[in-house]
Symmetry: C2
């Protein structure tokens, strides 16, 4: 399996585009993206568990009830959430898109991201749709990835190539992240495409299983968004025999999917609002998988640890503190903690107590922009990993006045 270019257009039969249609005031920022498959595709999705849900999610859930879709339309700059006419706008957007692409309305996935509670007009969609459809291209993943960005500083794309039944297959994805990121069942916006032939049921099974260890293990700020969704379309154009049960082919697909989702997780966490560092917390030797996950997530979510990492301060007591309040079953006196980066690895806590270590070496390690916090619970055999970022002045700045 190899990582390749092409994002959501790496898989056969997929085209994409992103344009500025006028939802945002800034004309230099794209605000409407489209992903289109030339063949109807198996579709699977997971959604935010927030009770306050964006109107597009309601429409999308309805459309995906048959496990099929052919296009994804997504705007940025407005979440279309807590709007009195939200459902009407999402429905009209879907109808406009269906007409322009000449496909069934039921095959359209609608998504929105941006400010909550801001009225959204249909006019920019009406105006932009012809240009958007005309712009669809097999190298359009880049502009589609741009069109869904909010406070993201970099676009997030990834794709892999692998073999199944002697056929060359692809899975690619784009994502937006940055703020209000604390997945629970699903998070942020992630659109994944594949040319693998797989039934809707098995595609949903693959996605639902995968996110437990990927998107659900990211946190930027502890806030679970109202509009998050992960959607996968698989159009079957690679020509493999359809995957319709568990087995070797399904496992190969799961592994390839996981390569895409983990890469997107790292991109999302590393580009968290205001972030200067990607934080990864790896927990080893936990009593249960649930304990491993709980500990990893708790460490990654600690505001105090996040601020310490921003300051490259090896304040490991905050790691212990976050483990202690996580509600995981741990034996505090067995915990070892290491900090690691490309500059090396350092043991800072052994058996739950501090050890002598070189503050200078620790500083050198923590000044890097990808930090691994390695927690060994020495109390079992389960592992987990969570991703987050540091807490910085810029996070406060970005969110102190997000709406202007």
């Amino acid at each position: 399996m190899n990582y390749i270019d092409g994002g959501v257009c790496a898989a056969k039969g997929f085209k994409a585009a992103g344009i500025h249609c006028g939802i945002r005031k800034n004309k230099d920022k794209k605000d409407l993206s489209l992903i289109y498959s030339e063949a109807e595709a198996s579709a699977a999705a997971v959604y935010t568990t927030n009770l306050v849900k964006g109107a597009p999610l309601v429409i999308t859930k309805e459309h995906l009830s048959d496990g099929k879709a052919q296009a994804i339309i997504c705007n940025s700059g407005n979440a279309n959430t807590c709007n009195a006419n939200g459902l009407e706008i999402a429905d009209k957007t879907s109808k406009l898109c269906s007409k322009a692409l000449n496909i069934s309305e039921k095959d359209i996935v609608v998504a929105s991201t941006g400010v909550i509670g801001l009225p959204l007009e249909i006019e920019p969609f009406e105006k932009g749709m012809p240009e958007l459809v005309k712009s669809l291209s097999s190298d359009g993943s880049d502009s589609a990835a741009q069109g869904i960005m909010t406070t993201d500083t970099v676009k997030k794309e990834v794709a892999v190539e692998f073999e199944l039944d002697g056929k060359i297959c692809h899975i690619g994805g784009i994502a937006k992240g940055s703020g209000m990121i604390h997945p629970n069942m699903a998070t942020m916006l992630v659109f994944i495409t594949s040319d693998v032939s797989i039934s809707s049921e098995m595609l949903q099974k693959a996605l639902s299983g995968d996110i437990q260890n990927t998107f659900n293990m990211i946190s930027i700020d502890g806030d679970t968004s109202t509009n998050d969704m992960v959607v996968v379309l698989a159009n079957g154009l690679a020509g493999n025999s359809e995957i319709n049960a568990e087995g070797e082919s399904f496992n190969i697909f799961m592994k390839a999917l996981n390569s895409v989702t983990v890469a997107l997780c790292r991109k999302i966490a590393g580009d968290g609002e205001g972030a200067t560092k990607l934080l990864e917390c790896k927990v080893n030797n936990a009593k249960t998988l649930s304990d491993a996950k709980t500990v990893a997530k708790s460490v990654i979510c600690s505001s105090l640890l996040k601020a310490a990492m921003f300051g490259a301060d090896a304040n490991w007591g905050r790691v212990l503190c976050a483990i202690g309040y996580s509600k995981a079953q741990v034996d505090v006196n067995k915990i070892d903690v290491y900090f690691k980066s490309c500059k090396g690895e350092i043991l800072v806590c052994k058996n739950g107590a501090g050890v002598d270590f070189s503050e200078e070496k620790a500083k050198e390690i923590l000044l890097e922009n990808e930090i691994l916090i390695l927690v060994d619970l020495n109390d079992g055999e389960y592992s987990s990993c969570a991703w987050g970022c540091d807490l910085t002045y810029d996070y406060v700045k970005i969110n102190g006045d997000y709406r202007t």
Copy 2:
């Protein structure tokens, strides 16, 4: 009932002191405090639920097993947590104090606050104990409150006077707060004294009941500390008939205690690390008390809302978002949200959707330093209140390099 001066020395028979003994390098910062009752007192306490616990908590729990105490010794500058010899140091501190005061070791409450995992020596305690005991005075609450401060910018003291059985009674307290504040059963350090006569059992009942709606409803940063405790000593010198059951006297005591604890909560939240504003979230008309509390706490804990409040940005969508992921049972379409301060009140969301409001007026309200976020769920009759603070550049600064 009146608020009065005097803090922990407002109640009859209590003396206090705070000195610099050398745990901190900065000689201008006090680092050791003592509270002493001339008579043995009923004692009740609640402790952090963090699995990683400061060594002093272990000693204190043991000493309070008989429901009696006479003195509280507390150092700042070092949490005495995750130290190999932590228990030994806490035990020696208790013994030194017991000897200097000529009271039973079992009557000593030991507490520590500061950096986790930093070795702590007994020498500063040995050196400082004679001076500390000599400094005990009935107007020493002020210096004792200073001696337990860490990143606190102001000392936190409060006291009330009330009548019981025709006797003048008092309850007073001091607290330290600032960071690693997200109570769960108990939080931070709070020392409360009273001259009321009350059994240990009823005192514990009063305290355990009260904290559910007071200290457990504060959050500065979502991090539950390892060293938190709330201790109440009641020495009976007011001369009322001992409270040993529920009834009118118990209710009067509970009300007075609540006046002290709520005032301390507001002081702790308003002086959160880096805070410029006290945030109070009042939730009305919830289906259950648990729903009301869950919603209030979720809103107060949202990093996104906290940053918006720092920027005086009326971004009410973040209030809705935090309610939505709180796991409370709410009907989103019934939710109203108001922002309120001494500059007035403004409705920003009605029935779960935005309303037209004056951004100028909202800004004026939110620029104040005490903000009330009023959430009406319109779905029941339960209310709750939570306290927190805004998220600021200074929070990041303070915690980016706490140890140096």
